[in-house]
């Protein structure tokens, strides 16, 4: 398969892994954070930890939009879903995320009209097909998905569609990275920069990480070879005492980003003064709301929103895992009360969440290794 197999070529992968071992040496420990949940998923899916030397530690970052969404927002969205004639539309990733009264899927089983859509424009299509109903799109995601939500609202406005709204949970990546770096218990050497987000925002917004924080960052693709090459680039910078923004994912990410997408976002959204992130707390100017010109499509203005705030279960240590302070299996609930079938924290729900990735691909492997090392 073109554009995939080239980046999974065993011989090249082995050679790159060899280069990583050579550069990493044995003297020091390297802590690198992959910001994006897609990278976390890829690391586990391709078993990359098996081929990296032990002194390279990958810390899973906050870049999984489902994972950072506070439970109260899900409750708010599902409260609107119970209004008469409302169709609740969301990406498949959202369907099993628990609210206090159950997940969207559990609401569907109870008769609430919950639909999976693959894009916001599919939700708009639903609105056109169901003129007697109101379709509310539960929007999540970083700058990756925000432009398509914006374009859909622009389309809805142009077509004069009145039975469509968006419950906006879009967040922005840079403030989250800043919050991580500001966290006192965080020690990081370098960042593997998000790939998909950067197709929209480009590489410039990361420059402060290199200049002010003196941490190298390499924007990376998602195939095994992409990620290994990014680690090589980071190691070379670290060895040379440099801190720069580099773009490994040039085949997709333009340095300046996607101007058309940024323009669409600017037309429809404005920054919220602050927004709550699950595990990270309130972060100022870290999320988007729908601006006044598009107020008619803003579900938070059209409907009574309860504004529910839910504190995470005390025993769950999602925040520490999200910041990379704890590994998923070090959480007290991991694999016991909290599993992919019965997730307590959102990190266990999304396939991009580090707990689910670790549970699905790794934890029995870890158990096996520890058993064999005892024997």
């Amino acid at each position: 398969m073109r554009f995939v197999d080239e980046f999974r070529e065993p011989e090249l992968i082995s050679k790159t892994a060899e280069e990583i071992r050579r550069l990493a040496g044995t003297e020091r420990h390297y802590r690198m954070m992959e910001v994006c949940g897609g990278h976390t998923h890829a690391i586990y899916r391709f078993g990359l930890k098996d081929i990296l030397p032990e002194n390279i530690e990958l810390i899973h970052g906050p870049g999984c939009p489902v994972c950072v969404l506070p439970m109260g927002r899900i409750d708010d969205g599902l409260a609107i879903a119970q209004e008469p004639d409302v169709i609740f539309a969301a990406f498949g990733d959202m369907m099993r995320v628990p609210g206090t009264q159950g997940s969207p899927l559990e609401h569907k089983a109870r008769g609430i009209d919950v639909r999976i859509v693959y894009s916001p424009s599919d939700a708009l299509k639903l609105a056109r097909l169901n003129p007697d109903r109101h379709v509310m799109f539960f929007a999540i995601g970083f700058e990756t998905t925000a432009p398509s939500t914006a374009l859909t609202m622009m389309r809805a406005k142009a077509e004069g569609i009145r039975n469509f709204s968006v419950f906006c949970n879009h967040v922005t990546i840079i403030p989250a990275i800043r919050a991580i770096l500001d966290s006192p218990d965080m020690r990081l050497d370098a960042f593997i920069g998000p790939g998909h987000v950067s197709t929209v925002i480009g590489c410039r917004p990361y420059e402060w990480i290199a200049h002010n924080e003196r941490k190298p960052i390499v924007v990376s693709g998602f195939e095994p070879l992409d990620m290994l090459q990014s680690i090589v680039m980071l190691l070379r910078q670290l060895k040379a005492g440099e801190a720069r923004v580099e773009n490994q994912y040039k085949r997709v990410v333009p340095w300046e980003g996607n101007r058309a997408a940024l323009k669409a976002m600017a037309q429809v959204f404005q920054l919220r003064p602050y927004f709550e992130w699950r595990g990270l707390g309130f972060i100022s100017q870290s999320a988007l709301r729908i601006n006044d010109q598009y107020a008619e499509f803003d579900a938070e203005q059209r409907f009574e929103v309860p504004g529910i705030r839910v504190t995470d279960p005390k025993a769950a240590q999602c925040g520490e895992v999200l910041k990379g302070v704890l590994k998923p299996h070090q959480c007290k609930l991991f694999g016991r009360e909290c599993t992919p079938e019965h997730p307590i924290g959102a990190l266990m729900v999304s396939t991009e969440g580090s707990c689910a990735a670790y549970y699905n691909y790794e934890h029995r492997k870890a158990a096996m290794v520890s058993l064999s090392s005892i024997a």
Binding site: M1, V4, R8, P10, I13, S14, A17, Y44, R45, F46, G47, L48, D50, I51, G92, M95, R96, L105, E106, K108, A109, R110, Y118, D122, P224, P340, E341, T351, Y359, N360, Y361, E362, H363, R364, K365, A367, M368, S372
Partner: protein, 346 residues
């Protein structure tokens, strides 16, 4: 004696779509509620068909319901699935389907030509598979209380000589065989729904696997330990069940697993794993290592078996688990399907 309620372990408050998806939730429902109340406390490993002793003659029996949406799709339709699905459940249990009983649940308002086309499809599939449709029943429910039509087939089969299927007979060093490319059915259905604006030249793999199973038994009968058709939940779920039942590790070689490029492409785009996607015309077999070559040769020469492959082997570790290894030395655990990526595929 324990009260019956003490035997049930199913604690989910309501039935969700995932309970019908063939993965973990389905298994919990069967093992936690159905099996303890219907079969007694410890039914042992649950196969695709049961064996019943009638006056000293053993026969295999199984049943399957079909609720696929849409009713027709490239490569097949609900009628064909309903025949092949039950024929295949018997085949991988080491039995040749002799007779089927059919139940239709029809929604008032279903057009007669649609029904007739499906009945014709069933008749043809039954002829092709060499099985007789012996009896049937029809129920009609109000418009809106079912989705066009549902079909249930119950099959009774004669045990094929020369083979015993038992997950507990699987040994370290056995080879894991797959009859051909995976994921065609599930992805075809997903695309046929037309919700994705994706198109691909792909057909469901629905067919009777009996001829391939018979070829395998002729060539490697004494070496066959276990067979299963990986329908809902895919290869990953079937092998996880085996791993659990035999307590050994199933190690797969990713580069040996046949997957068409269209299926791989769709899975890449949608974030799905082909190992979790349903199949309707493939089967898995575990064969002792000394019979593996003969088994693959026989399958490759049989019609429709040219893409059969050894995809992995049974090892002591990781016990009770399926591990996929890559050519470059990475590995990952593949669990049963959790949740329900593709509702109502069969």
């Amino acid at each position: 004696m324990l009260a019956e309620s003490a035997l049930t372990r199913f604690r989910d408050p309501q039935i969700e779509m995932a309970h019908g998806a063939g993965g973990k939730a389905s298994r919990k429902l069967v093992e936690g509620l159905f099996a303890p109340l219907l079969f007694g406390a410890a039914p042992g490993p649950l196969g695709d068909a049961a064996q019943v002793d009638i006056n000293g003659t053993k026969v295999a029996i199984t049943t399957d319901s079909f609720v696929v949406k849409p009713l027709t799709f490239p490569g097949g339709s609900i009628g064909e699935l309903a025949v092949n699905g039950t024929v295949n459940d018997l085949a991988v249990s080491g039995a040749k389907a002799e007779a089927l009983v059919v139940t239709y649940v029809l929604e008032a308002g279903l057009s007669t030509p649609v029904l007739e086309a499906e009945v014709r499809a069933m008749a043809k599939a039954a002829r092709d598979a060499g099985v007789r449709i012996a009896a049937g029943d029809t129920k009609v429910v109000e418009h809106g209380k079912a989705d066009q039509m549902y079909v249930t087939t119950t099959g009774i089969g004669r045990l094929l000589p020369g083979v015993t299927i038992d997950p507990r007979s699987v040994r370290i060093g056995d080879r894991i065989l797959l009859s051909g490319p995976i994921g065609d059915h599930g992805i075809t259905i997903l695309l046929a729904r037309g919700e994705l604006d994706l198109e691909a030249d792909l057909r469901s793999d629905t067919r009777s696997v009996l001829p391939l199973v018979e070829a395998l038994i002729r060539a490697a009968g004494p070496g066959i330990r276990w067979m299963r058709d990986p329908t809902r939940g895919g290869v990953a779920t079937s092998l996880n069940e085996l791993a659990r039942d035999c307590g050994l590790g199933m190690v797969l070689f990713e580069d040996q697993i046949p997957v068409r490029d269209t299926v791989r492409g769709a899975c890449e785009l949608l974030g799905l794993d082909p190992l979790h996607i349903a199949n309707e015309g493939q089967f898995l077999a575990v064969v002792s290592s000394e019979y593996a070559d003969a088994a693959i040769n026989a399958l490759s020469l049989a019609p429709g078996g040219s893409e059969a492959q050894v995809i992995g082997e049974v090892r002591e570790q990781p016990a009770g688990t399926v591990l996929v290894t890559t050519l470059y030395g990475g590995s990952r655990i593949v669990d049963m399907l959790v949740g329900d990526p593709l509702p109502r595929i069969c």
